[in-house]
Subunit: 345 residues, 2 copies
């Protein structure tokens, strides 16, 4: 036994939404939380055993799947043979528009609400768009001087309505995270830049909040996966890293990737039907290029259920995987974990 | 009859890959090719009948689906009720690294090959990555002065290996198209910026080519959809815009979107099985957030086959759609068109 706390690697920087998901599940009193620059770095840290667990974003309720994460699970270069999903976490996303204004305009106090024809919030109905979406948030700062916006690419799609109404035509610059966007804006003395980021990032980087809750959907959430490394038991068989599995609850999900022979075009439907055969509900499907041949895909399915470990008997997931083997070209079980949907903080 | 040529709207600007796909299918002698700023503008032009056809990117063989296009087909705000796919086109993507060097270094002649420890092309194997992907392209210009890279977000994912080898750590700025990236670099007198763009963009914007064919996979291709507006016949029934359908060939594909009741988790598998029942091969599946409720999706399937028009009888696609109606919450046929895979220019 050592006194060192187990390391949990997460997609940083500090104050990112992934950091929030990590703190919620791994209290810093008990874990050493280690921010990483890319999602790949998190996978490397876990595969390499420099981290006990990793936390990565998997999908957003408005914007869909995080393809970078899917591509790492696809593992085309066999760099992550031991990575398994062993948990999930949901975090509500509350985007804010952050700028230098709050700083210059009198410290932490909220700037006066500024109304201008450019920021009335009115959206003109047209024949093409008779019912334009009106943003739910209004600026609480003056946006007229903003010439550049920084954020993570996913954020643009989550704040379409606010951006189209109040910041149409303003240049958008993609950076690696919403927190990094806040950092860049904090370092820009011109006052012409703003960031879409979190409230916590405003506090950390000393920025003013020019608008709060600017996402199109107030219930915008991101789902994160906790990844761990499969341990190899004495018998050479990989074991799930989560030793605290609660066998009492049946509320589990599993992630499986598979490829099919694209010269046998019925193979995809056959592969999917094995889950139906064993009563395993498909909760999501994702597709990415297989990396081997053009227009050939790797599929990711999530199903309700848990693969039983050796000695636990033959569950429905085990049986389905047995059948899947015969109809697909190759598959990989990527972990089973307890369903946390509806249990977010 | 008018002398005016039919308008074909495409995702611009000029010299974009979509422009290439458009020229290949709609010769400018017969059509008025009209570049649009966004994919949404192309949908609007066709729905609004200001364009006879539209051309939009749908998926890339390395990077996967274009989610902006999928979201427009999802049509959550019912803005595009009459849009149907009536054709497809494949274009080989050959990315180049463009900079101001060629211009200053003696006009259109190729600059001398510059070797430096920073651009040796050697990729160090590590325990984590014992077989790193080596880029197939080598720089033909000096990349050491490059501090900023501009391109379309999809291009970063297509040129990972070259970028990681020769331009690691250089700031990446996303712009709306690879052609726009070239335009920005052409306007930057500092010489510190470079663009990932096409050879045709180098010519149009007067830039030098610093490296050719820098994409990870030499067979990188993008698939485009040609969209048209369904005409409403006298009987009130929508008709496919493509009146030149070749009934002799059976080589068609169809696109269908559907949603399922997510409280009935077997609904997805049931919906997919109707295609199998009628022997319709699924060639792709895509998923996007449904926009109605979190973790509820709209699915897009592509199948081999063509929906027959009224009077043509009941084909397999028509029968499958009849069955689909009973198992999904809602569906939409988004067009049938001739398969062009393997027939690209």
């Amino acid at each position: 036994m050592t006194e060192e706390k187990p390391v949990v690697a997460f997609l940083g920087p500090k104050a990112s939404y992934t950091h929030q998901a990590t703190i919620d599940n791994f209290p810093s009193a008990a874990y050493d939380l280690s921010p990483q620059i890319t999602i790949e770095d998190v996978f490397n840290a876990v595969q390499n055993s420099t981290a006990y667990r990793g936390v990565v974003p998997f999908e957003n309720s408005t914007n869909g799947s995080v393809v970078f994460t899917l591509d790492l699970f696809a593992d085309l270069n066999s760099k992550y043979p031991d990575i398994l999903v062993c948990g999930e976490a949901y975090v509500k996303v509350k985007h804010c528009l952050l700028g230098n204004q709050g700083k210059f305009g009198g410290g932490p106090s909220t700037p006066a609400i500024i109304e201008s024809p450019l920021s009335s919030g009115a959206v003109t109905p047209t024949i093409l768009n008779p019912l334009p979406t009106k943003p739910s948030a209004r600026p609480i700062g003056d946006l007229r001087g903003i010439k550049r916006l920084y954020s993570h690419p996913q954020a643009w799609g989550q704040c379409k309505s606010f951006l189209n109404t109040y910041l149409k035509g303003v240049e958008r610059l993609d950076v690696s995270s919403t927190s990094r966007a806040a950092e860049i804006v904090a370092g820009d003395g011109s006052g012409e830049s703003a960031a879409i980021s979190s409230g916590i990032a405003a506090r950390i980087h000393g920025l003013g909040i020019l608008a709060r809750g600017i996402e199109d959907r107030g219930d915008n959430e991101t789902r994160f996966f906790v990844i761990g490394r499969a341990t190899t038991a004495a018998n050479g068989i990989s074991e799930h890293p989560d030793t605290t599995i609660n066998t009492a609850t049946q509320n589990y999900k599993s992630l499986i990737s598979f490829t099919v022979d694209h010269n046998n075009p019925g193979a995809l439907a056959h592969s999917l039907s094995v889950f139906e055969k064993y009563g395993l509900n498909l909760t999501s499907i994702n597709t990415r290029p297989s990396g081997t041949e053009n227009w050939n895909y790797i599929f990711f399915v999530e199903i309700k259920g848990r693969r039983l470990e050796d000695g636990e008997g033959e569950g429905a997931v085990n049986q389905a995987l047995g059948d899947l083997k015969d109809v697909c070209r190759g598959f990989r079980w990527l972990g089973s974990w307890e369903n946390r949907l509806g249990r977010e903080r």
